[in-house]
């Protein structure tokens, strides 16, 4: 225990890290390398794959048909992230600063829906938005529409389902960031003559930036890879990259193209995150 160096130290560290190394190596690194190798392979006519160096799979990604799907995926993921931030920030702010003794219960209430299956929650929206569902009945009852309108299988339905599913991922980091905020800073700003608006934008918001960054990444990454929600709420009309990849692997049996798509999506996400952190990170520093 007390040793800082030497054999015992090395053995201890090695012993503790062996399980995670084996686990991640076997179930993360190997599959990742496999996908990378597959993405340069050639798919057989009846499925199966021949390894080799075939850049054709990547060229196929740039087919306008597939590019459109990738662009749509990024647009939906960015919209989802912005909406989650727009809805999640005031909520987290309310819980932290106005929640009082209810604070813990209020944050728990944000997490509880998240305990039920994602699939179940998506199905709930199918029930609500379907042709004769509650949403349409309510609209007709209120006299807003005369006959059922198409609510499901629209880009809006997919976006709403995603906001619904990912909102807790945004609220939790924001809550954690605002929770740490020292209220006396706000008092100081206002004592020094800053308006409430000014105090928020120049003091509270910049200090909650780590929460904004963490929340945005937590929402953006999984929503760009989402395939369950577009499947259920978008039907065959709103295809996202996740659906396309699944189709390539399970139905089209074109593992090579599916792998190339996966690699491209991963690179795109990595690029987007790096750009975002650099951009937002820089502005954050200027603001301080």
């Amino acid at each position: 225990m007390g040793e800082r160096t030497g054999r015992g130290w090395t053995l201890g560290l090695g012993g503790l890290l062996t399980p995670v190394t084996i686990w991640l190596g076997l179930f993360f690194l190997v599959p990742l390398l496999l996908i990378l190798a597959y993405s340069f392979g050639t798919s057989g006519v009846y499925g199966g794959i021949t390894l080799g160096f075939n850049p054709g799979n990547y060229l196929k990604v740039f087919d306008p048909l597939y590019l459109e799907i990738i662009v749509r995926t990024l647009v939906i993921a960015v919209t989802n992230t912005l909406l989650c931030l727009l809805l999640g920030y005031p909520l987290a702010y309310f819980i932290v600063f106005k929640g009082g003794s209810w604070k813990n219960i209020l944050i728990l209430l944000v997490m509880v829906p998240f305990w039920t299956s994602l699939l179940l929650r998506a199905y709930a929206w199918v029930v609500i938005l379907s042709g004769n569902g509650i949403a349409n009945r309510t609209l007709q009852f209120l006299g807003i529409t005369d006959e059922p309108i198409t609510l499901i299988f629209t880009p809006q339905a997919v976006t709403m389902g995603m906001v619904y599913s990912y909102l807790p991922f945004m609220v939790l980091p924001l809550y954690a960031a605002l929770e740490k905020f020292d209220i006396s800073l706000k008092e100081a700003a206002q004592d020094l003559g800053a308006s409430r608006w000014h105090t928020f934008w120049r003091v509270t918001f910049p200090l909650s930036m780590p929460g904004v960054i963490a929340g945005s990444i937590l929402v953006f990454i999984p929503s760009a890879g989402e395939f369950v929600i577009p499947d259920l709420l978008g039907g065959s009309r709103i295809v996202m990259t996740g659906n396309l990849i699944r189709t390539q692997f399970l139905q089209a049996r074109d593992w090579a193209f599916g792998s190339a798509l996966s690699v491209m999506l991963a690179i795109l996400l990595l690029g987007a995150i790096m750009f975002y952190v650099r951009k937002v990170g820089a502005e954050k520093l200027e603001g301080v």
Partner: protein, 101 residues
């Protein structure tokens, strides 16, 4: 804040307290409405998820009689417990390594 006679800090920027409160209520309604709808219709006497035909617990009875559903439940529990156990062991060891070394 403000109760002890100090300055009163209200709202978020120019947004007043009551608006913030209303906003939070709406978000919670948005989060819970779909789950409540599903729960409600699980007690529906007909198969429909659109029309309410009366209260019944018959679907819960059917669920308990259905071998496939029970088998699926069993698998879910086994998978959930195993995943938690493995993640706890590997995670604890890794966290120990990261904090101690």
């Amino acid at each position: 804040m403000g109760e002890k006679g100090g300055p009163v800090y209200k709202g978020l920027g120019k947004v007043p307290d009551w608006a913030l409160f209303l906003f939070a209520v709406l978000i919670y309604a948005f989060l819970y409405a779909p789950i409540l709808v599903l729960m409600l219709f699980s007690f529906n006497s007909s198969k429909s998820t659109q029309v309410w035909t009366g209260f019944s617990t018959k679907w819960y009875g059917e669920l308990l009689r259905d071998e496939t559903v029970l088998a699926a439940f069993k698998i879910s529990i086994i998978v959930g417990v195993s995943a938690t156990a493995i993640a706890t062991v590997i995670g604890t060891l890794t966290a120990l390594a990261l904090s101690r070394y």
